[in-house]
């Protein structure tokens, strides 16, 4: 289904892409069911709390420099602003820039839910504009404002007449989707519909969709060899930079789950090529990704020269570690992008994936194709057990208990700690660049070895703590609560 930039609301991933949050089986079965159209996500009659799509969407937007996010809801919803404020300030400081973005709550109360608060919201937008003169304003909904039917589109349309910066309505009611990555799409949609302008001239830039640009110096240096400049999105990006996204040579991303909507939309609307390869994690991923970029910007020779030079430096070191990593059995719990990307890297390093738990699964991306990471695994790697669960901790701990891996890897806060409480070494693959390129792969391999060679922390803790689940639960099958 084509992306529609003429409307302010978008469908959820469940509706647009047929994405799911409940499944248990294996990689080949998941792919087969996706292909023949029989994949149906299961609901659960018991579940644990996970993540709100508005937190994903609005923390993306509040990373943009000098904008205002106005979250129309009770004070709990806008708590996201308190968290993202610290991140925003710290990543700006690291880069040596100042980010004056504000995140305002409307503190919706009981009266507002009865009598409505549209006028109040408009007032708050005006006040925010007068105070901070943001370069763009995002007016976001919440469950409460959504259920009572506050019309943020009309409010935004009215305000556009008096405020002379881009303003977008951001429809992010938390009940809309169990897939918080829908929030990423919502934030992309807001940027595309309010800030991105049609191209006037081509620039030598590459749109780089990521989270917190921690590999900015390295990537800037690599890209300089090919004569292009990366524009990292959205943390620290300026509204001016965003307005020119349509003029870039290409769009690339560190995570397909994160970048897919923006990449496809820019390609569809403005013919900016979206580089759809496996991600630049591990050697195979990095080289495939870099070659695809080289192809798009017509710098194949420069890319090959770079690869040859760096290979000579790093491959011998990585090969040496592979011998030590061989046969380490892993369970992974990550977003669908990273679950299948990191699985490939683990295989590449000689490790074994005994179970991959993806927080959701997109059977296709906006272009209708299977995600590249999945495609690669099916063609190249051994089959392994797979489940899809929106961070359902009880399922993860059951998997760990049954499969007793040497290592658990997760990328979301609050997951690895439970593996170590159960006595399993765990590695928090937090930063999106943790396995980036040759050096990242080498660092990752060493960190895996360090993790499993000193098990003191998990042993000390596991010996002394109780687990939160009953024995009954550990005796149940993992998919016990997944309704058919």
């Amino acid at each position: 289904m084509a992306i529609q930039l003429n409307i302010s609301d978008i469908g959820t991933r469940e509706n647009r892409l047929g994405s799911i949050t409940g499944y248990s089986g294996d990689l080949k079965d998941l792919a087969e069911k996706s292909r023949c159209g029989t994949l149906r996500g299961c609901a659960r009659c018991f579940s644990q709390s996970s993540t709100c799509l508005s937190a994903c969407g609005l923390s993306q937007l509040s990373g943009i420099r000098d904008v205002a996010v106005i979250h129309h809801g009770p004070s709990g919803c806008s708590t996201t602003g308190t968290n993202s404020y610290r991140v925003t300030k710290q990543v700006a400081k690291k880069r040596g820039v100042v980010n004056n973005t504000v995140y305002i709550g409307t503190d919706m109360d009981e009266n507002d839910t009865i009598f409505g608060s549209e006028e109040k919201l408009a007032d708050i937008v005006r006040t925010t504009y007068q105070r901070y003169h943001p370069k763009a304003i995002f007016v976001a909904s919440s469950c409460a404002s959504g259920v009572i039917g506050e019309d943020i589109d009309s409010i935004v349309d009215e305000l556009k007449k008096e405020i002379d910066v881009p303003i977008a309505a951001v429809h992010c009611e938390g009940f809309k989707s169990r897939i918080w990555a829908t929030g990423f799409d919502i934030s992309d949609h807001a940027v595309l519909t309010s800030i991105v302008k049609p191209p006037e001239k081509k620039r030598n830039t590459i749109n780089f969709k990521n989270f917190y640009e921690s590999a900015r110096p390295e990537i800037t240096k690599i890209f300089a060899e090919f004569g292009v400049v990366p524009v990292f999105l959205y943390a620290n990006a300026t509204v001016e930079e965003l307005s020119h996204l349509s003029e870039a040579q290409a769009t690339v991303c560190i995570c397909g789950t994160l970048g897919n909507y923006l990449g496809n939309a820019l390609e569809q609307e403005y013919s900016v090529p979206y580089v759809r390869t496996i991600n630049p994690l591990g050697v195979k991923g990095f080289e495939t990704w870099l070659r695809a970029i080289g192809h798009v910007i017509d710098k194949n020779d420069e890319v090959e020269a770079y690869i040859e030079r760096e290979r000579a430096l790093y491959l011998p070191q990585i090969e040496k570690l592979k011998k030590e990593l061989k046969g380490i059995r892993c369970v992974i719990g990550m977003g669908p992008g990273y679950t299948f990307e990191v699985s490939r890297v683990l295989h590449e390093l000689g490790m074994e994936v005994v179970w991959g738990a993806a927080w959701h699964y997109d059977k296709q991306y906006e272009n209708g194709e299977v995600p590249p990471s999945m495609d690669y695994l099916l063609k190249n790697d051994p089959n392994f057990k797979v489940s899809v669960a929106d961070q359902q901790n009880f399922e993860i701990l059951n998997i760990l208990n049954k499969y007793k891996p040497d290592l658990y890897l997760s990328r979301h806060p609050g997951s690895t700690v439970w593996a170590i409480k159960q006595g399993f070494p765990a590695l928090y693959v937090a930063d999106e660049y943790m396995i980036f390129g040759y050096k990242g792969t080498l660092d990752f391999a060493n960190t895996v070895l360090d993790t499993i060679r000193n098990r003191s922390f998990e042993r000390n803790l596991a010996e002394r703590v109780k687990l939160p689940y009953t024995k009954w639960w550990y005796d149940q099958p993992i998919n016990k609560f997944q309704e058919k």
Partner: protein
């Protein structure tokens, strides 16, 4: 003027899940959207026996908005009892089921005879903030778990201590332990329900207490009044968090008077502790007096608890002078006059002006306009870090949100608590020569 949450200092009522989380082996069951727990959880100190991603949640979706989520709640509670190894299950409701009108009380009522207690608190975010949500959870415990005890079952000297809100106050547990220690030292038996090895056993002792001690300007006042009605338990409301020697000694004397204890024992204790405290103060008095980069004036931007506690400490112990104090917890109107009054009871007839407000922008503008006659000292939340860069102030992050420092069992209560706060303040002040 429209209320605007600019630089947010509190969360919504459903953050009362943290109050439940603070009770050992108690777990919230959330009838809410999938991400409320993650948003409302604290980034520090949350991976205990139960953490927010263990909390069962109905994860309300669009279908539930239309058709109601009672069935889902029923199966979630039913299975939570099987899967989760807890001793108390507290159902909390978010915004959506409250607006669409799910009958949660009815569903929870069906679990009256389950093997572990299941209780319910209505906590939609639009009904109030987490200071209120905390009170509602305590009320639910009192109403749904506890029964009055006969007069002969009351325990002489047993005192329930109630203080500010777990996790909202970063120092909640350390402070509570310090309050317990003070009461034990003067011969009382403290009873608290939060943290390590307190929990349900202590909850069941609540009705047996001789009295309730509330140490907070206003949070919890409803609870102790309610317990007076239900259990006939009298209460001592002590508004000031006792920080440092002056307020701690005053606090102890008040408790002793209320409990009709022998004053000799408390006076001996106070004498010993003040000697200890002043041993340190004496050794470091030169630093407190002889620092170039320091004026006499300070402001606190915090909830009523810290605004009041720290103001009293800095004025009455250290001889500093209060500029305006900013109370940002959305103190209910009915308490504001009383809370303002507490700031007028300072040594040498000094009165501090207390301002109530939730608009951080206005507070920052006001501070920028204030002349502190030198380097200001600002104790506040993480939001004030930015402000102090503009005003050249010394800054200590004491109130929520607390970032860039880690508090595990730290506390500001009592004699040692005062020394700790001085360490924190002067560790900042000493980064400058002039």
């Amino acid at each position: 003027m429209t209320k605007i949450l600019d630089k947010q200092r509190y969360k919504c009522a459903m953050s009362a899940m943290s109050t439940v989380q603070a009770i050992e082996r108690a777990i919230p069951i959330l009838h809410s959207g999938p991400g409320c727990a993650q948003k409302l959880s604290n980034s520090a100190g949350s991976s205990g026996f139960f953490s927010p991603n263990i909390f069962p949640c109905t994860s309300i979706n669009e279908r539930d908005v239309v058709f109601g989520g009672e069935e889902k709640l029923q199966s979630t509670i039913e299975n939570a009892l099987k899967v989760i190894d807890a001793d108390l299950y507290v159902v909390l409701t978010g915004c959506t089921p409250e607006i669409v009108g799910d009958d949660v009380e009815e569903v929870v009522g069906g679990f009256k005879n389950s093997k572990k207690p299941v209780i319910f608190t209505s906590t939609p975010g639009f009904k109030g903030n987490n200071y209120k949500g905390h009170e509602w959870v305590i009320d639910a415990i009192v109403d749904q778990l506890l029964e009055p005890v006969a007069e002969n079952e009351k325990e002489k000297g047993l005192v329930n201590i109630w203080a500010d809100v777990p996790y909202q106050d970063e120092f909640w547990l350390g402070n509570l332990r310090a309050l317990e220690a003070l009461l034990s030292a003067i011969g009382l038996t403290p009873n608290t329900i939060f943290g390590h090895r307190r929990g349900l056993e202590n909850i069941h002792r609540i009705p047996k207490a001789e009295f309730n001690l509330l140490v907070s300007p206003w949070v919890g006042l409803e609870n102790v009044k309610h317990m007076q009605e239900k259990f006939g338990t009298p209460y001592l409301h002590w508004p000031t968090l006792p920080i440092g020697a002056f307020e701690t000694s005053k606090f102890l004397r008040a408790v002793v008077e209320f409990a009709h204890l022998d004053t000799k024992k408390v006076e001996a204790f106070i004498k010993e502790r003040e000697a200890y405290y002043y041993y340190y103060i004496e050794r470091f008095a030169d630093i407190f007096l002889e620092t170039r980069a320091m004026s006499k004036r300070f402001s606190v931007v915090a909830d009523a608890q810290y605004a009041l506690g720290i103001t009293k400490f800095l004025v009455n112990d250290l001889g500093r002078f209060p500029a305006k104090q900013y109370i940002v917890d959305d103190t209910p109107k009915e308490y504001q006059a009383a809370v303002k009054g507490y700031f007028k009871d300072l040594n040498y007839g000094i009165e501090a002006e207390a301002i109530f407000g939730v608009d951080g922008w206005e507070i920052h503008e006001d501070i920028k306009k204030t002349d502190y006659n030198g380097y200001p000292l600002i104790l506040g939340s993480y939001w004030e870090k930015e402000l102090v860069q503009q005003t050249n102030a010394h800054f200590v992050n004491v109130s929520w949100p607390v970032n860039e420092r880690l508090v595990m069992n730290g506390y500001y209560v009592g004699y040692d608590g005062g020394l700790r706060l001085l360490e924190d303040i002067y560790s900042v002040v000493r980064t400058r020569f002039n």
